[in-house]
Amino acid sequence: MANENMNIDKPKLTAKDFSSGLDVRWCPGCGDYSILAQVQRTFPAMGIPKEKFVWVSGIGCSSRFPYYMDTYGIHGIHGRAPAIASGLKVARPDLSVWVATGDGDLMSIGGNHFIHTCRKNIDLKILLFNNRIYGLTKGQYSPTSEQGKVTKSSPYGSVDYPFNPASLALGAEASFVARTLDRDPKHMQAMINRAAEHKGTAFIEIYQNCNIFNDGAFEVLTDKKSKADNIVVLEHGKPMVFGAEKDKGIVLDGFTPKVVSLADGKHTADDCWVHDEKDPNPLRAFIIAHMTDHEELPTPVGVFRQILKPTYDEGVENQIKGVKEKKGDGSLEKLLYSGNTWVVNGNGEVEK
């Protein structure tokens, strides 16, 4: 994403340059603050001029995000951010277009736009603030809420099955799929940078705590005491090892991932499943995605998959270039006076 046009004499950008200065109106303690902070920390060093960034959002707590960034931005309508952003990116491939969205916005009302954006591989960066609840409408279960969840709209427990966003993105052939946590700033920054570097639809699911309506939803994954035993951090080319003492690993038994002890002398890290995010076959990435919310398995975070394929916006540009080469640039003259025309002369006679 390095930009050749960047003036190296310009003073270096800082996080402050990306703050719009508006009062941030999320509830105190909300995980969204951390996401805003990590974005503002990573953006200055991306080598992209500030005026080239655009944030697009839908509706929900997360979607207030563009107001707080001193970049160009559109606060759109519910669910439509990926579609608005797609049009913008196709029209203006020179821009770095980012989408801020939530689990209601992207997984429910905007589900169709999300899968088609992934399918087309439009060069957008989509940050899903997944708090597994509807915050702005005050606490209904969302399409990522766990089954049985008791909320205002499910007083006897929700009977819905939840979406697994990473799995959905993989199913829609997204070329970059990652997951991170609001309480792990370093990891989130790394994921944001990886998304920025990726050419194509980059999807990051961020586990975000809504301390008002769904407090503690990810606590076991973020709490100092439990976290090491409950998450496995994916690293490309490295074996899947986790635990406070790095004493546990994942092995792949057929299609089934299993936890093995690395402390009992029977297994070593060398026996563990080595993560390959570039695997052209999406199968393993699916298996990883399905390790989520599994009693016996740790929840994976990191880059699940990153593959390179031509982007839609690139394809459009290339096609225009190709047709221009073949047919020559269009003009008003050619536009009107082409095709089957005939001439009527001054005597009202038809000339061919």
């Binding site: 944030w55 579609a83 049009g87 203006r92 169709n112 009107l336």
Partner: protein, 616 residues
């Protein structure tokens, strides 16, 4: 009367032909070819394709009949003709459906091969109408078109099915002979169309010529007809349909404004052709984005508008309904955006392939909140070109969404179009940025338009969105007084456009007893009806509204000068309601909702009824 090859040649001034057959018979193609050739020989013409919503309805059924009506003349004409002089019926169903519409003594050419028991049954004929007196009074020509086509293509490598499919070219050739049209334009078309399949070029060409020579050789036909070219004004012409004109109009607007053109859309009948045409113009830098749904169509266009494109989305009624929320976003963010609604029969899925004008209220009022947009309408196929440019001009100058209404009738219908000189085309100006003022996203110029600053402009980073804005700063603001102010300001901005559009013009007397006031695609039928009334010695004036919101500034003055105002519409009186509520002027609402355009006679009889024998 001239003689030629033993046949009489009769000169007539106008003819209406109906080609009708099964939806798989290629009648639309036959009709289009006949129109293109007819345009080419210099006749004025107007067409009415009428086809079923099913792509291939079961063979031989009444509802599967596809028709193409064409009116051509040596005089200027305005409609596809009230009733055909000639019917080409490729099967019994086509005969049955059209018999009630054709003129008494009309010419009927039937393909006798298709009048078998099965087809007769499917069409609901107990007896073969060719063998009883059903067709008494008509000039009926019984031609075994399928057999003759098979004979002509003997030895062709094509399958029997493919051979039979060439029969529409036989029928076309025969009609070319009957009306003295050249074969060359169609031959050229066949050659380009089937470039990759020489055997199809050969077969279709043979069928076409066989039809032509059959007319000459057979004893059946004793008379040929000629229709002299119309004395059209000097210039270069092409035959154009409304959808193609709309597409070209936007490409022209892109050239005129110097802005890249972006179309975000989703396929829908009868608007899809606009997408098809526009997607060809890649060498004009046109970007067409076939989105996942109607909402993404308009949402992507809004994104492109924010990015600095001339942004367009195209649809029909059901799609316009889906786009309402996003249209409101464009109203709130004050972005330039053109929404084209090619109206069709509603509500719901309604009549996808039939015409109607019932989306007027939806366009003006169909959104949540007070959500004003400019609404304009095209009146004829070629007018779609000019109105697409006009819609773009208004959107860009006033920073507002504009809805351009056309309808299935003018979208699919075609007419000869005298091409404009390039320097006759209007200028398109974009709301400029006042450099003397500090940049504020919702600052306004004398048109009340806000500045259109595109991402990538250093130092002017700003955010827009669907929440209520504060004027000038564009900051989110929920204060009661601010909301009241902004709602009125957005309305004023759209109302103010009235100062920058042409006055409503009256054709005929500027005051008097009767004004026929129309809008959109009824123009041709109204014009024809008024012409006929005047020819009969009556004083009837006509005005046509191209600007529906805001209406031209002089509208009220114009209307007040007439005792009776008749408003013909293909809905239940939507313009009539608007006129009454806006100006407290009563009108006579004259409506039709059959999925078909008005016939001139249907408007004429209303005028006659009102006149009641008085006037002139």
């Amino acid at each position: 009367m001239a003689q030629e090859n033993g046949k009489e040649v009769k000169s007539v001034s106008e003819v209406t032909v109906m080609f009708a057959g099964d939806s798989g018979d290629g009648m639309q193609l036959t009709g289009t070819q006949f129109s293109d050739t007819t345009a080419f020989v210099g006749n004025d013409l107007s067409t009415l394709p009428d086809y079923p919503a099913e792509i291939r309805a079961p063979a031989g059924t009444l509802y599967g009949v596809s028709g193409f009506q064409l009116h051509f003349s040596s005089n200027p004409i305005h409609t596809p003709g009230d009733s055909p002089d000639v019917l080409v019926a490729m099967n019994p169903a086509a005969l049955k459906i059209n018999l009630k519409n054709i003129k008494p003594h009309a010419v009927i050419v039937v393909n006798t091969d298709s009048f078998d028991k099965k087809n007769l049954n499917t069409a609901g004929y107990d007896e073969n109408p060719l063998e009883n007196d059903t067709l008494a009074g008509y000039k009926v020509f019984q031609v075994p078109i399928t057999t003759l086509t098979e004979n002509a293509l003997e030895g062709s490598p094509l399958s029997i099915k493919e051979v039979q499919r060439c029969k529409n070219f036989f029928a076309l050739g025969l009609m070319y002979w009957l009306y003295n049209r050249p074969l060359e334009p169609t031959i050229e078309w066949i050659e380009t169309k089937f470039k990759k399949r020489p055997e199809l070029i050969d077969a279709n060409m043979k069928a076409l010529k066989a039809g032509f020579y059959y007319g000459d050789a057979t004893q059946l036909f004793t008379t040929r007809y000629t229709v002299k070219p119309a004395s059209l004004p000097e210039g270069t012409y092409r035959n154009i349909s409304g959808n193609e004109a709309t597409a070209i109009g936007f490409v022209a607007a892109s050239q005129l404004s110097g802005l890249p053109l972006f179309l975000g859309t989703y396929p829908i009948t009868p608007a899809s052709d606009i997408l098809h045409y526009m997607s060809v113009y890649k060498n004009y830098g046109v970007k067409t984005f076939q989105a996942e749904d109607e909402i993404a169509g308009i949402a992507s266009a809004i994104g492109a508008a924010f990015g600095g494109s001339l942004a367009v989305t195209t649809t029909s009624g059901p799609g316009l309904a889906l786009k309402t929320e996003a249209t409101g976003l464009a109203v709130m963010t004050e972005l330039p955006l053109v929404i084209v609604d090619v109206q069709r029969g509603g509500p719901s899925t309604g009549l996808p392939t039939k015409t109607e004008q019932a989306d007027l209220m939806q366009s003006i009022y169909g959104r949540n909140g007070e959500s004003p947009v400019a609404v304009i309408a095209a009146s004829t196929p070629k007018d779609c070109f000019y109105m697409a440019i006009e819609a773009s001009r208004i959107a860009l100058r006033f920073m507002t969404p504009v809805i351009l209404l056309t309808d299935g009738y003018i979208a699919n219908g075609a007419e000869p179009w005298k091409l404009p000189e390039i320097d006759e085309l209007p200028e398109i100006n974009v709301a400029p940025l006042d450099e003397s003022k500090e940049f504020q996203p919702y600052n306004r110029d004398e048109f009340l338009a806000r500045p259109w600053v595109k991402p990538g402009t250093p130092g002017m980073e700003h955010r827009i969105g669907g929440l209520e804005k504060q004027n000038i700063t564009g900051n989110v603001n929920y204060e009661p007084d601010n909301h009241d102010f902004m709602v009125r300001l957005r309305q004023e901005k759209v109302d103010n456009i009235a100062k920058f559009i042409p006055d409503l013009e009256v054709d005929g007397e500027q005051e008097g007893d009767i004004l026929v006031l129309g809008w959109g695609g009824t123009y041709g039928a109204i014009t024809e009806a008024v012409k006929q009334m005047r020819a009969a010695g009556h004083k009837v004036s006509q005005a046509h509204m191209k600007y529906l919101n805001p209406m031209p500034a002089n509208t009220e003055d114009v209307l007040k000068k007439f005792k009776t105002i008749i408003v013909p519409e293909l809905n239940l009186g939507q313009l009539a309601t608007l006129i009454r509520s806006k100006y407290l002027i009563d009108v006579v609402s004259h409506t039709k909702i059959k999925g078909l355009p008005f016939r001139a006679a249907e408007i004429r009889s209303k005028i006659e009824e009102i006149l009641g024998g008085s006037n002139g």
